[in-house]
Amino acid sequence: MAAPGGPRPGNTPPNYNPNSLADNMQNLLINRPAQPPHAVASSGGPRPSPPFGQQPPPFPSSAPPSSPFPGTSPMVRPGLPHPGVLPRASVPPGGPPQAPLPPNMSFNRSSGPPITQPPPPFGLRPPHPGSLPSSTGSPARPPSGAPPGAFPPSGPSGQVVAPSGSRPGPFASSPLLTGSPMPPSTISSPINNGPHAFASRPLQAGSHFPSTGSIPRPPVRPPPSTISMAGGPPHAPSMRSLYGSQSTSAPPGPVQPALPFSAAAQGVPPPRGSPFSAPPGPVQPIPPFSAAAQGVPPPSGSSPFSAPPQSASQPSGSPYGPQTWPMQPRQVAPPPPPHPIPGSAQPPRMFGMPPPLPTESMAAISPAMSHMGAPMAGPSKIDPNQIPRPIPSSSVILHETRQGNQANPPPPATSDYIVRDTGNCSPRYLRCTINQIPCTVDLLTTSGMQLALLVQPLALPHPSEEPIEVVDFGESGPVRCSRCKGYINPFMKFIDQGRRFICNLCGFTDETPRDYHCNLGPDGRRRDADDRPELCRGTVEFVATKEYMVREPIPAVYFFLIDVSMNAIQIGATAAACSAINQVIADLPEGPRTMVGIATFDSTIHFYNPKRALQQPLMLIVPDVHDVYTPLQTDIIVPLSECRQHLELLLENIPTMFQNNKTADSAFGAAVKAAFLAMKSTGGKLLVFQSVLPSVGIGALSTRESEGRTNISSGEKEAHKLLQPADKTLKMMAVELAEYQVCVDVFITTQTYVDIASISVIPRTTGGQVYYYYPFSALTDPAKLYNDLRWNVTRPQGFEAVMRVRCSQGLQVQEYSGNFCKRIPTDVDLPAIDCDKTIMATLKHDDKLQDGSECAFQCALLYTTVYGQRRIRVSTLSLPCTTMLSGLFRSADLDTQFACFLKQAASEIPSSPLLQVREQVTNLCINILHSYRKFCATVSSSGQLILPEALKLLPLYTLALIKSSGLRTDGRIDDRSFWINYVSSLSTPLAIPLVYPRMMAIHDLNSKEMDESLITHAIPLSSEHVSDEGIYLLENGEDCLIYIGNSADPDIMRQLFGIALVDEIPTQFVLQLYDNPLSKKLNEVVNEIRRQRCSYLRLKLCKKGDPSGMLFFSYMVEDKTQSGLSYIEFLVYIHRQIQNKMS
């Protein structure tokens, strides 16, 4: 992990920092397990490992089932548990399985790597990015920089020349390195991983990499995982069929085999460089590698690329092209097809039982359940280990957004993938709940699914991805459709020798501006299409002209507002906030355009003039909290460069100045208003640190919780009202704030009820977010506060933004939801937008779409960067339309769908009784499954619960959602409000962990050979899997609980926490680094998770028998609880409901 950390910084400067995140984040949790294993296995002669890749899936899951399903995934999941890849690896079974499963492919590659593997460890992350090729050389830091470049080019190279051109610089350098020196050595494991991924993808893709790709492990993980993962699995299924028939699979197969081993080992990739020679043995692999290696690095090489491609093509290439699904499938698919796919695949599926037939779909569940009226029965018949569970996808997936001029279904949002933009935008920016668009409303309605887009316009890219290209059209501004104002994109069709173009959104034909004219090539494309990013990339940024500015781009303004009321002081919140701000000042964007201001408040508001050349800071108190104003016309907000020292001094002094403050009241609303007035002329970010219930002045609130409590006990009739804002004052204020481009983030550091339901209106409306530290601890929370704040100001972000999503004719955006201000229905006004914010756009049909055509979505975000440039980021996604219900199910995107569910449920909570919300959620799930069962399932045994492959985890997630803190009655009102609020802007990759957290054992960290992947495989969230001897870590992206079993080994406890007895567990826990491998490992793991989640996590120790333990077990969503069914019972329940409907 360390490595990863490193990279960030490097990248960070610019928007990239994301790197770190990117790296990690993306990795699928699931994957890890796999990797580690590899490492181990791989290293050893284990090459056998290859098997792992393949085998694992089968075995774990129970070989049988897995095999059946191509996806294996379904089954696999289950298998996952084992994931401990190693095990699998070891198991010979792999052999057979491999063949069948596409996954193998990946493994294969690994084989190559094996050798190198050892080294990999270092560069873990970096590798991905830089990914193998160049990376080797680059590994060191640059990973992000160079590597990324490398890939893209390489990938594209085959097809697109342009990219390479752009990148040139980087590549060149990287390549070189790799080529000669480092390559081998450098190739740290990480690299390997990366590479693998790429390699694999490529292969399939048919691009150069192919060869390499094939080798790479990506496949590995995927295979097993594939199944599990939405992306992989789904395709897989489909693939198989296809493949099977086509034989496409074959190609991959062969290749893989060889690779498998090596690949499996580890990041085969890394090795590549050097390894090659060695690995080469593996037959094909070699060539690929070499090719890849060279090719990549030498960006120069288009030629090289070309070469590779060929090789690649051989492998999978052909098949794909033709195939419909090419995209995902390819990668994964290839392997599977090879063999048995079909057959094998299905078997696996059948978890519970049956060998379901369903070729594609799969997960069937023991029918028995249905019968059993009582859940009881069900369970007995169901093998808990075979129920669908998330399977960690392991390696990095290389994803090309379009292949063969077809949209390539994206990998699971939660997986670790690297995108190569080949026309469609990266799924990070735009994801659709279904990757094929139903032609009619009826079709959509029948499916029970919904059609929505999740838009995350500034999403953090993977560090290895190519940066978004900035296009400057000069004074005329970007070319747009004159009717719908859609922006030029790769799907606009040029006709009439390029003199006119047809808008892919509204169908209007426009004249091409004279200076933009270009002749068409024989393929009907403009000859310059590959040279112009806007014509070959799904996402580009246009430099905005004056037309797009109502005023000069605003400076980056940061205003800090700190609660200094008695309580805030006493619990240490003020000190924590000041200290955090003080540290963060250094991280604010440099330059004269960065402005800061600061104010504190209790029952009055205290501004400061930090600019004075005086010995003392000046505090200006605004006492009128009913009608506020800003005390100075100037000098409240000053350029950072002019006041840095004074500001630091001031921040150090604030806690002391107020240490004897006896004012218990807090004028939150008034303070926000006052700060707003100070910022009114520019707009910017307002960061508020609030510790108590706002009790005076504008927007004062009263303690509603107690009333709420009584209501709940007396029948929760009106309980949800407590989750609504108390009144409209804050809402109106928020709208005003938004109008003047002020974005408010609220950091709630409290030990009491603060009525988040009311307060959160402000951040939600202004594009901000709420951070919640409850109960605030001066010991443990300052670190998180600091990290949250730092991320808040350093993450990629923009100001004064307006966003609109346009759709092709026949569809339109019905509604947007997320954190922003709704003023007019078509636009989303965002005072600020950052990489973590996601906006959901639900879609509706207003016409029929034509089968076989493509439907495009274009998200345009006009914003100002922190450096004061006005930009328009345009992401375009073009998806095929279909009239086939099965197509819809096959292309459903579980992660995205579930994120939509989650958001809709969350928005429903404050306005409906809880029971009703739960019922709605359950019904949604039932309806979809019912539709599938009724119209698509090939099996008709009524006793079977049949799940579409792509959505097989829907029941589990639905159950988890019902049990999540937002939908529980026993939670504190504030906790629930926070949850609701947190969800509203939640990104797709974080949606699932929120309800279905990741749990892993950490008592045996040492015993598992560590390889590149730090995160061991996840354990199902069931108390059966929690043993008294163990120590477990559970995280959901926000909180991190460490559970110490009652009989945990004292020695391990001492190593990890510095305590010997469970009873010594401190109530407030700070993770410390002790000088022993175990502790180091734990720290690494935690850091890795932080990076993945872009969140520092609140750590808490839990033990059985006290509230902390209860908290921990409340996350065991698969357990039966007082108010909820166990997973198995829930499946039974669903099944019965479906049966009822059927009959």
Binding site: T604, H606, F607, Y608, R612, L614, Q615, Q616, P617, L618, M619, L620, I621, V622, P623, D624, D627, Y629, P631, L632, Q633, T634, L650, N653, T656, M657
Partner: protein, 790 residues
């Protein structure tokens, strides 16, 4: 006896020293019965009694030399109400040969030192409580409450958060942060000087303002802390107190009132460092909009300062000293909007009703007056600006609180420095020479009715049987409040005789002035002046003999400006003329319809001339003044004693020549001559006017030639005299030195009687005045004509 001598003993100038018995006769006098009273006049001999006064049980009069005393039974009979009072025990030793000072016939004025348990002349002393109790029990209106706190407030308790013991007067400096940098610098230096010299126990506060008002917390160590009020908001007293956190919590049963520590008003000893830092830290607020005046919220700042003092319950005397260099342009009390395109109102605008903000602003400031009065707060205005600052609007509270007003051109000027230093002068004991929180109570003989008062005072609305129905100025009371007194401050009181006149001519009547005030060291004094005059019959010659022309002119001047505040100037002039004509008809000797026969006796002869100059003065003729200047002049006139008032009305002119010692000459253009130096004193400015020859000589440097010693002396003499004149006055008059025919000579020419104008036929080379104004001679001619017309 000469009126001036009498004044030196009594401190009183009576327009009429003998009063007719009947109301009708009084009316016929034309000039009202009035007394110009200088409460704290400096007397050569003033007994200071260290015990409390003995008070009549019925009418509240203080024991005085006119009381009849029965030594045997130790009883005294009040000369006002004839009530028999027994002496308190401490007067046990009283006897014909053992009189307390207050009974000495020569001591028409005595001063008591209250609150000290010192020994009485006779013996022991437990004297005090009567007086206080008496007063407070008799207090009626709520308005009175603060002043009836006389007793209680002194001993008391009301200073929130402060130990009242040993607390001195409070000063709140209200500083305009829009002043230009150099101005501000000069002001800061002066303020620092003042602060350094304040007594340790004096309380200080600091308020600065531009478009916002900042009240500085002087008790906060960690940083400079200020509470900011929005300059555009008009806040109630309660709101200000709440915002400052110094409001008194509602007292809950059984709990002592919550006392909050506040740092806005602290003894100098506790906050000197913070205060000086804060003063040094004041910076000129940047001008945000070019082409606009700075944004000044003077009104809000003053209102905040008042709120602060109210909140701290300092009602033992406090001053709000406003230093500004421009007009208020925002918020309550704004004078003009900040756009320079709009000029500040002129008299013409006021008359034509074009002064947009005038009325509202004046109203705002007027409403401050009672609050100032209730809390014994004095409002001072130091305006140093080349343009107007809104003194006209601010005049009411400044005047009624007894505050000081200065209109200067720059804080760097000597004038400003001298004023400020003068105000903070200390006496021999180191106490500030400031007399706070004064009240004047008048006790009269039954047939004398009190109509009211004109001057820097506020009626406390305490009515009793001696209060007349007819009100003049601050009427309807026998007690007035004065926020601040100086040795010179003079109040004009107006009287009326009762309807049912029972008094016999030539019997005596009495008027007693009881002035209670607080010294700079917060000690309380009570000065009691008892005066006796006689009733006279209708045509008694005593009436003429008792007419004090100077006092009458002063009184009429006050009445005139009082009217001028309410009416159009031309009406006031008409009124003055009418009064003068009636007066002339009444007291002149003439044959009907024969102007040439008109004569006035020497008792009345100067009066018409005073009226002539009054009509021409800047008080009435506002032609060349801005409203601010007019307000200032009137305010000064309204508190000046008879002598000073006369100088304002009819300036003095002395001639210095080789012929002998300086001699007063006619205030006439004829007095200008090339070979003399004229020293002109109009109170507000002093002009030394060098005749053209003298100027030439000086230019040639003869004064430096030992051979012309006498010339040097001639040059020196008026300068020395001028300096003397200047030194005694506050605000310091402007000193103008000019040569004949120079532009500055206009200061002199404007005031001279234009006996020779461009229209005159015989100009023998003497100066002339270009004007269409009538000369004194013409004026008198007309008067005679009109006076004799029945």
């Amino acid at each position: 006896m000469d009126f001036v001598e009498l004044e030196a003993i009594e401190g009183l100038r009576w327009s009429w020293n003998s009063w007719p018995v009947s109301q009708a006769d009084v009316k016929a006098l034309v000039i009202p019965l009035s007394i110009m009273y200088t409460p704290l006049m400096h007397f050569n001999e003033l007994p200071l009694l260290s015990y409390d006064p003995v008070i009549c049980n019925r009418c509240g009069a203080v024991l005085n030399p006119y009381a009849r005393v029965d030594y045997q039974s130790r009883i005294w009979i009040c000369p006002f109400c004839y009530q028999k009072n027994s002496f308190p025990r401490s007067y046990a030793g009283i006897g014909e040969n053992n009189l307390p000072a207050e009974l000495f016939p020569t001591y028409s004025t005595v001063e008591y030192q209250l609150g000290k348990k010192a020994s009485t002349p006779s013996s022991n002393s437990n004297l005090n409580h009567n007086w206080g109790n008496g007063l407070s029990s008799s207090s009626l209106s709520s308005m009175m409450s603060s002043s009836s706190s006389l007793v209680s407030s002194f001993s008391s308790s009301s200073l929130s958060g402060l130990d009242s013991r040993g607390v001195g007067p409070a000063f709140v400096f209200v500083v305009d942060a829009c002043s230009p940098e150099e101005e501000l610098r000069a002001l800061q230096n002066e303020l620092l000087l003042v602060v350094a010299q304040l007594p340790e126990n004096a309380l200080v506060g600091l308020v600065t303002f531009d478009s916002m008002v900042r009240v500085h917390d002087l008790g906060f160590a960690e940083c400079s802390r200020v509470v900011v009020f929005h300059g555009e908001r008009e806040l109630s007293s309660l709101q200000i107190k709440q915002f400052l956190g110094i409001h008194h919590m509602k007292q809950q049963l059984g709990k002592p009132p919550a006392i909050q520590k506040q740092g806005f008003l602290l003894p100098v000893s506790e906050c000197e460092f913070n205060l000086t830092t804060a003063i040094e830290d004041i910076h000129t607020s940047p001008l945000l909009m070019p082409g606009h005046r700075p944004q000044r919220s003077t009104g809000a700042a003053i209102s905040a300062a008042v709120g602060l003092l109210e909140g701290c319950s300092v009602n033992t005397g406090s001053r709000i000293m406003v230093f500004t260099s421009g007009p208020a342009t925002v918020g309550p009390g704004m004078i003009v909007d900040s756009d320079l395109g709009n000029a500040i109102r002129t008299h013409q605008d006021l008359i034509s009703g074009h002064a947009t903000y005038y009325r509202k602003s004046r109203e705002f400031y007027k409403q401050l007056s009672p609050r100032l009065c209730d809390s014994s707060i004095v409002l001072d205005l130091f305006a140093c600006s080349l343009d107007q600052v809104g003194a006209a609007e601010l005049k009411t509270p400044v005047e009624s609180s007894g505050g000081f007003m200065m209109l200067g051109e720059s804080f760097e000027s000597d004038q400003f420095r001298k004023c400020l230093r003068h105000i903070f002068n200390r006496d021999e004991d180191g106490n500030l020479k400031m007399y706070f929180d004064a009240t004047i109570e008048i006790v009269t003989t039954k047939d004398v009715k009190i109509c009211g008062a004109l001057g820097p005072c506020v009626s406390l609305q305490k009515k009793n049987s001696s209060v007349s129905e007819k009100e003049i100025g601050e009427g309807g009371t026998n007690t007035w409040k004065l926020g601040m007194l100086t040795n010179k401050a003079c109040i004009a009181f107006f009287f009326q005789v009762g309807d049912e006149q029972k008094a016999q001519p030539s019997s005596a009547f009495f008027i007693q002035f009881i002035t209670r005030y607080r010294l700079g060291n917060m000690g309380i004094r009570k000065r009691v002046t008892t005066a006796a005059r006689r009733w006279v019959g209708n045509h008694s010659t005593d009436i003429a003999a008792g007419f004090d022309q100077e006092a009458a002119a002063s009184v009429m001047a006050r009445l005139a400006i009082h009217e001028a505040e309410r009416r159009y100037v031309r009406d006031v002039i008409r009124w003055l003329d009418k009064m003068l004509i009636r007066f002339a008809s009444k007291f002149g000797d003439y044959v009907q319809e024969d102007p040439s026969s008109f004569r006035l006796s020497s008792h009345f002869s100067l009066y018409p001339q005073f009226m002539y100059y009054l009509r021409r003065s800047q008080f009435i003729d506002v032609f060349n003044s801005s409203p601010d200047e007019t307000a200032f002049f009137r305010l000064m006139l309204n508190r000046e004693g008879v002598v000073g008032s006369l100088i304002m009305i009819q300036p003095t002119l002395f001639q210095y020549s080789f012929d002998g010692p300086p001699i007063p000459v006619l205030l006439d253009v004829c007095s200008i001559s090339p070979d003399v130096i004229l020293l002109f004193d109009s109170y507000f400015y002093v002009v030394i006017h060098y005749g053209s020859k003298i100027a030439q000589w000086r230019k040639l440097g003869y004064d430096k030639d030992p051979n012309h010693e006498s010339f040097r002396k001639l040059l020196e003499a008026p300068e020395l005299d001028a300096e003397q004149l200047v030194a005694e006055r506050v605000p310091v008059p402007k000193l103008v030195k000019c040569d004949q025919h120079s532009s500055q000579a206009r200061f002199l020419l404007a005031k001279l009687n234009p006996s020779v104008t461009q229209n005159s036929t015989h100009t023998d080379g003497a100066d002339i005045i270009f004007t269409d104004d009538v000369s004194l001679q013409v004026f008198i001619d007309h008067l005679q004509t009109l006076a004799v017309q029945a």
